[in-house]
């Protein structure tokens, strides 16, 4: 599989605090990689660097072969993202938001693409509704529709299902899986829902104190570390990261 995202020796520090400490990893096309770790582990920092809204102290990120530092605009044209903390403008309707971001990402045949997205995410009846008055679950669906509008080579999802009910969350997971198998896009996915991670991700990276401590298949990783579930493994890493760091 070709590398859609290639992160090398990434480091971000704020005066004396090291948020990300020499992280390297790849995301291949058609692969969903889970970025896991306790709060403050550095997950969102890594995503912000890849999105070009945070300069790393050292290291590099390449998206679809484009160096982010060298050609930010061309690299970001291959990406899109949805995050629970990055809502779309609430004073624009669903249609207007998708049109606005579709033009920014220079989506071809935009009108047809928007229509297809509205249908795919069950947003047709909200087409002329301002995003600010939608429920948080509906807003998340609009954000995801925006994130898939340009069929990105790399999709960054920061807790995309955090505000969704279980049924909608399952639908969203299905849509993203479909996107991956159809468009061969790579996905970097952060979540605190270990059931979801196990269900969706091909590979996970466990992050603690800015370092990747573990990497592997979420279905086999717990057993390899004598844990009964991914959640148990997560908790043990969150509580005792040093025990794993020494390995």
């Amino acid at each position: 599989m070709s590398s859609t995202l290639s992160v090398r020796d990434l480091r971000k520090s704020y005066s004396n605090v090291v948020a990300v400490d020499g992280v390297s990893f790849d995301v291949a096309g058609g692969e969903i990689v889970g970025l896991l770790g306790p709060n403050g582990a550095g997950k969102t920092t890594i995503i912000n660097v890849i999105l070009g809204v945070l300069d790393p102290t050292a290291g590099s990120a390449r998206i679809a072969g484009e160096n982010l530092a060298g050609n930010r605009s061309r690299a970001l044209a291959h990406t899109n993202f949805a995050a629970v903390y990055a809502s779309l403008p609430g004073n624009l309707t669903v249609w207007e938001n998708l049109r606005f971001f579709g033009m920014i990402y220079e989506v071809k045949n935009l009108t047809q693409r928007i229509e297809a997205s509205l249908k795919e995410f069950g947003l047709e009846r909200f087409r002329d509704v301002k995003c600010g008055v939608l429920s948080s679950g509906e807003q998340t669906r609009v954000s995801l529709a925006k994130a898939l509008l340009n069929r990105p080579r790399l999709l960054l999802l920061d807790e995309p299902t955090a505000s969704l009910d279980p049924a909608t969350a399952r639908d969203v997971r299905e849509i993203i899986r479909e996107f991956v198998s159809r468009d061969r896009g790579g996905v970097l996915w952060t979540s605190h829902n270990m059931y979801e991670v196990e269900d969706v991700c091909d590979r996970v990276l466990f992050l603690s104190r800015g370092k990747i401590l573990l990497e592997g298949d979420p279905k086999t990783l717990p057993r390899e570390h004598r844990k009964t579930s991914l959640e148990e493994l997560f908790i043990s890493i969150a509580r005792e990261p040093l025990a794993l760091e020494g390995r």
Binding site: T45, L51, V53, L54, Y85, G90, E96, I104, Y105, K146
Partner: protein, 267 residues
């Protein structure tokens, strides 16, 4: 440069204006009040002054041009504040959009809104008070151009300040035209200012515009070198404002400010 991305910023502004009378009204109401208030004052001055000077073109014309400059500046800053208030900076700046494309969109939005304000003011000034700038024809273009360029420069500068210090810094931006107006010699000749204020005024492009307007109204030939100096200064300020915005943006990307930016998180 992508025209599509610049057009997206303009389209977003159109969507907001189209769907919101509260955004349309200020484009009309404040300029209308200014024109009517100053129009009546000039009429009164004409009736009591024994000098025979017609105050309509000098005072009302100055108000019209000064309001145009304010509309241009606010056209840029309000378009930027829309992103700030709707907390969409992260979504916008995490996209492939480049700074010139984004700023270009703000400027074009400002051209549209300020042209609308100018048309409203001209309509009122000509129909109620008989002041028509059309009689000056193309000679008016350099005046408008200098004010427009300086308005854009201040708008970009103000947007950079808000990007750096957060949404509450907008209260530092709105009074800027009022702070500049005594130095810009909108209503009186430069010679009426104390010497130290005249030095400051020479650094402000509008002072050259209003000196020239007064010269024309008084029937004197306007000094072209003054307008050239004003245009040169305005162009310089645009470059400085763009460089300042770029510097603040890069600093915000280095520090993570854009990633954390929201109406609540910054004081």
């Amino acid at each position: 440069m992508s025209l599509s991305r610049t057009a997206a910023i303009v389209l977003r502004q159109y969507y907001l204006l189209r769907g919101s009378p509260t955004r349309i009204l200020p484009l009309v109401v404040w300029v209308s009040i200014d024109i009517i208030l100053w129009g009546l004052i000039t009429r009164y001055l004409n009736s009591v002054a024994s000098s025979g000077i017609n105050f309509v073109p000098s005072l009302l014309g100055a108000v019209l041009l000064w309001d145009f400059f304010i509309r241009v500046m606010q056209g840029v800053t309000t378009a930027f504040f829309e992103d700030v208030c709707s907390r969409s900076l992260l979504n916008v700046f995490a996209s492939p959009i480049k700074l010139p494309e984004y700023l270009g969109g703000l400027v074009i939005s400002s051209i549209a809104t300020s042209a609308f304000g100018l048309a409203v003011m001209q309509l009122l000034a000509s129909t109620i008070f008989g002041l028509s700038f059309f009689k000056y024809g193309a000679a008016l273009i350099p005046f408008l151009l200098v004010l427009f360029l300086f308005g854009i420069a201040l708008g970009v500068f103000g947007s950079a300040i808000v990007l750096r210090f957060g949404p509450s810094a907008e209260w530092l931006i709105w009074p800027i035209p009022a702070l500049l107006s005594p130095f810009a010699a909108v209503f009186y000749p430069l010679s009426a200012l104390p010497m130290w204020m005249q030095y400051v005024a020479r650094l402000l492009p509008p002072s050259y515009v209003f000196e020239s307007v007064r010269a024309i109204v008084a029937g004197h030939a306007t000094r072209g070198d003054g307008l050239v100096a004003g245009a040169g200064l305005a162009a310089l300020y645009i470059l400085l404002a763009a460089a300042f915005f770029t510097h603040i943006y890069k600093q915000a990307v280095r520090s993570g400010l854009i990633a954390r930016y929201s109406a609540e998180s910054l004081s």
